[in-house]
Assembly symmetry: C2
């Protein structure tokens, strides 16, 4: 079992979907990543920052999930990062209604001493300089995964290139991969990204699944077809958390094990979208997860019959 | 080996993509379906109509592929159906520049006597009344597959419902499935379609793969990730032709064999999009196809490791 360091936002989200809406509820990339990874009972720590308005019971919940929060700074005088968004009928597009950085504006991540030797680091979407600072605090992790977004491509290109150079796996969505490389073909985009540093690329396609690449190989994991997608918020982070958590659990970073990791990430994401916010990740048993993994197997496996 | 009847357009297409453009070249749903099915060396017949302007060498080519064209009516005084379209950069959207029905306007399909006992019928996109007329000429086929499009939903709803009621498998794309049922979730859409008559539904998602449903089960086949998609024209018909051809070849209409059929359809479609028009389907060996089937296996298969 490897240790896992998770960096990203811990936030309040207000979400509106065609199925309902929420007031400020628990959200943030590191929250979703942490909850998904906790399913694999790895030793994980969240490095992030919240304000004095962050509920004590949410801190307690994270602790109860076995997540080390000694690196989760609490600025009593400040307010927690807030995001608000509204999903359209197709759930694939959303409008951001509000983004209040609050305490995140001056976030200086500090990795807890006991986690500097962690083998796996999952860098959720944040300013590339913050992500870089975390890598520099670590004692040579074996597996660094990075998420990012188009905002940093537009506004911090040089810093982004510096951090991408240092990571093993880039985990981004299809539109971001296209913007990062100027290639429409995701195969070409992945090849270009691997020239930037990473040995592997995971391209998330939302309801259309995810692709895993190395120099020689490609693997595809579908999203589970569901009767209803209730709230897609956090699905990409949950996917990344399941992926990172599974890798940390057995410390096997081979392509074959990454296949299993991407299926686990897809399974965790399928639980996430079935309920509002983090609700779908709260009370999952190992049996729930294993049942769903078998559904993915059933969904994709066939006995080839050559002609 | 079962016989296969193919109904659909045989046409001229003029295509513009970001990679180049063609003058009038061979196209049409029945052409793509027929060429894809011919890969499986089934006894197939195309039921369609062309004008006197249709090249003799194209007729000869179809014959050489082992396709019976005695049901391909030639109206010497008329002109062949013509479609012209332009693809955008992303290859997922296209503008229709011209549609000239010509001889298709009064098309009365006549199934050749020797094919009235065919077990498999693939009804390509045409007016539902034409599709219905073909079913009525057959002597109780075991497997009728139907493609259609939003145009008929808008303009011939009652006739469309009549024909859907009589088919075993509906093969349509995701947007069409949504329009047909008013359901955004493809799972819900498939369930509603199966209430209309078909026992199976195949939903084509273009570059995002295809889903196969029955009442209890769902299977997903990805599209092969390609470095470049050269021309998507005919990919959906090629997919349907590979699917129908594979089913006709071994006459096994079980869900498990349909899985193989959908993978074969996806493989054939991947050849189609790599070149302009029908070019990618012209000189495929069985080895080419089998190599590609193994790529699909490699792309999707994993050894599940339960947690």
């Amino acid at each position: 079992m490897s240790k896992l360091v998770i960096v990203g936002t811990v936030a309040f989200d207000a979400i509106e979907t065609p199925f309902g809406q929420t007031d400020k509820i628990l959200g943030g990339a590191a929250t979703y990543i942490g909850l998904a990874a906790s399913q694999y009972q790895v030793d994980s720590a969240i490095v992030s920052v919240v304000g004095g308005d962050f509920p004590k019971q949410d801190l307690e919940m994270l602790r109860n999930k076995g997540i080390d929060i000694s690196g989760l700074e609490i600025i009593e005088s400040g307010k927690t990062f807030f995001w608000s968004g509204k999903y359209h009928y197709d759930m694939n597009s959303r409008d951001t209604l509000a983004t209040e950085l609050n305490v995140l504006a001056d976030f200086k991540p500090v990795v807890p001493k006991s986690y500097k030797d962690a083998e796996v680091v999952m860098l959720g979407n944040l300013h590339p300089i913050v992500q870089l600072s975390v890598i520099e605090q670590m004692n040579g992790p074996k597996m660094v995964l990075l998420d990012t977004m188009n905002f940093w491509m537009d506004n911090a290109w040089d810093d982004l290139m510096k951090v991408i150079k240092k990571v093993n796996v880039l985990v981004i969505n299809d539109e971001e991969a296209r913007q990062l490389t100027g290639e429409y073909s995701l195969v070409m985009a992945a090849l270009k990204i691997m020239e930037m540093g990473p040995t592997n690329v995971v391209i998330k396609k939302g309801e259309h699944g995810a692709l895993l690449f190395d120099q020689n190989d490609v693997f595809f994991a579908p999203a589970l077809p569901l009767k209803a997608v209730f709230d897609p918020t956090g699905a990409g982070d949950t996917f990344a958390g399941g992926f990172a958590g599974f890798l940390a659990k057995n410390g096997d970073f081979s392509f074959d094990n990454m296949k299993n990791a991407i299926i686990n990430g897809s399974a965790m994401a399928s639980f996430c979208v079935e309920k509002f916010g983090t609700e779908g990740l709260m009370d999952l048993s190992m049996n729930d997860l294993n049942d769903r993994l078998l559904k993915f197997k059933n969904l994709t496996q066939f006995d080839i019959e050559l002609n």
